[in-house]
Symmetry: C2
Subunit: 282 residues, 2 copies
């Protein structure tokens, strides 16, 4: 059986594109009239190169101001003579420098950038205790006035790992599941003194990463006891006394896909269950 969405239409071929962007001057991923968005810019310029109207489908539909160093998309283009080797270079020549194509390849059978993805990895950076942010990193780090305790951040974050209904940490959206498997949520202090969090899940609810970071900070600054975060998770209702951290500190670092051979089965399952990534807007 051929699943419509999961394969290109006749006369088209599917490309997998790895790319990155500085989200500062984009109104997020999703195409919107009169706004500069990542999808909007890419569809316009890819369309220009292949002389067709194209749709880009991505694994991480980031919100305004969020960055990506390891984003992935697929796009179906007319199946005509093309130099795939050279396609990234040609596209980079016409794109502004705040979005870059890392690589382009013929997508393997059954590859769907969104439904095939098994995990998304995000990174969040905080300069705490009024530590000055290096001007060279100023668009990629959020500031926080109180000093944060690394061990408490890690303890709070670890208590959310596993499969749960993360409704308390997701902005509400219709038809969006909030049941997610959080695989990693851990913090380190890097050589510049910044707090860097690695957050990985099968998918994320709307604003979920930035809500998780805000809740961990509530514990890390000793505003709330460690037990509070677990209680919030269990109660499943949005908390009004937590923080939503700003988009500037957030970067989509990587998307995981299974081996090429497993792609068709996994994409089909994900698509059928309609669970997959419907609202991973961060």
């Amino acid at each position: 059986m051929t699943i419509p969405v999961l394969n290109p239409e006749g006369g088209f071929r599917r490309l997998q594109i790895d790319f990155s962007y500085d989200g500062t001057n984009f109104q997020g991923w999703a195409k919107q009239p009169n706004y500069r968005t990542i999808q909007g810019v890419l569809e316009e310029l890819i369309g220009k190169l292949v002389r067709a109207k194209v749709d880009c489908v991505t694994a991480g539909r980031t919100d305004a101001g969020v960055h990506a160093t390891g984003a992935v998309l697929h796009v179906d283009v007319p199946d005509q003579e093309m130099d795939i080797e050279n396609f990234a270079f040609k596209l980079n020549r016409i794109l502004d420098e705040d979005i870059r194509i890392i690589s382009v390849r013929e997508a393997p059978e059954g590859f769907h950038a969104r439904y095939s993805a098994t995990a998304r990895h995000y990174e969040y950076k905080i300069a705490d205790g009024n530590r000055p942010i290096s001007p060279l990193e100023r668009h990629y780090v959020a500031d926080w006035y109180r000093p944060l305790d690394l061990d408490l951040l890690n303890a709070a974050s670890a208590s959310l790992l596993g499969t749960h209904d993360f409704a308390a940490f997701c902005k509400w959206r219709a038809n969006a599941t909030t049941i997610r498997t959080l695989k990693d949520f851990s913090w380190v202090r890097n050589e510049s003194g910044l707090l860097v969090s690695h957050i990985c899940a099968d998918g994320f609810g709307y604003n979920m990463v930035r809500n998780l970071v805000g809740a961990a900070v509530c514990v890390g600054e000793k505003r709330y006891e460690l037990e509070w975060i677990r209680r919030v998770l269990t109660e499943k209702s949005r908390v009004s006394d937590s923080y939503v951290f700003p988009s500037r500190g957030l970067t989509l670092a990587k998307v995981d896909y299974p081996d090429d051979a497993k792609l068709p089965a996994i994409a089909q399952a994900a698509w059928e269950s309609k669970l997959a990534g419907e609202d991973e807007l961060e």
Copy 2:
């Protein structure tokens, strides 16, 4: 004997300020009417806080577009009650985010940001072979279309180490010495595939770092033999067939000063010889 420049006038105290900036939107360090410069911005805002006209003296008078993560300046301010602990914080509150104060301290006896400096460390980053530059680093990396050979870059750079007349690599300026001691000029390829050069000397001539990088690239891309760079150095006349690399790839990383106790003697010697950093404009 009290050397005038090397000590604050009566009724003034000297502050040492460590700071950093993204040079992209500055017309360099040096104050100029109608241009946004680092010196101009700092003198205006420090002057506002201490309610006096002040002059900032720095170790690395960088050219337009050059960045700094480890710049140092001194400034003499009226010797009145002030909370030095809090001065960096207050200054950062009124500065734009592309310039940040790292720390402020009472300057030790005989400290002169420029004449006391014993070495300047610069870093230069290149994405060679048309490698796409990450959007998050786009203002801090220069691109080069040809692939560069790391071993050849290092061999060419090493052949310039030591004390020489670097006239061939300096833009001409009146009253500026071109005799310098190059202490380090080496390259690595970092985890992102970028070529990163560390360049250290007692001081640098006008445009010297960017000329050195350009000459090393001529060898690294196999346009010229290794012997060529040494011949250029010896002939001492500006070469017209080399490259001057753009300022965006250049960052002042660190300035070395001697131990506090040695400061007065070193500053006096440097000032008397008039050798010190008169033209380290990069």
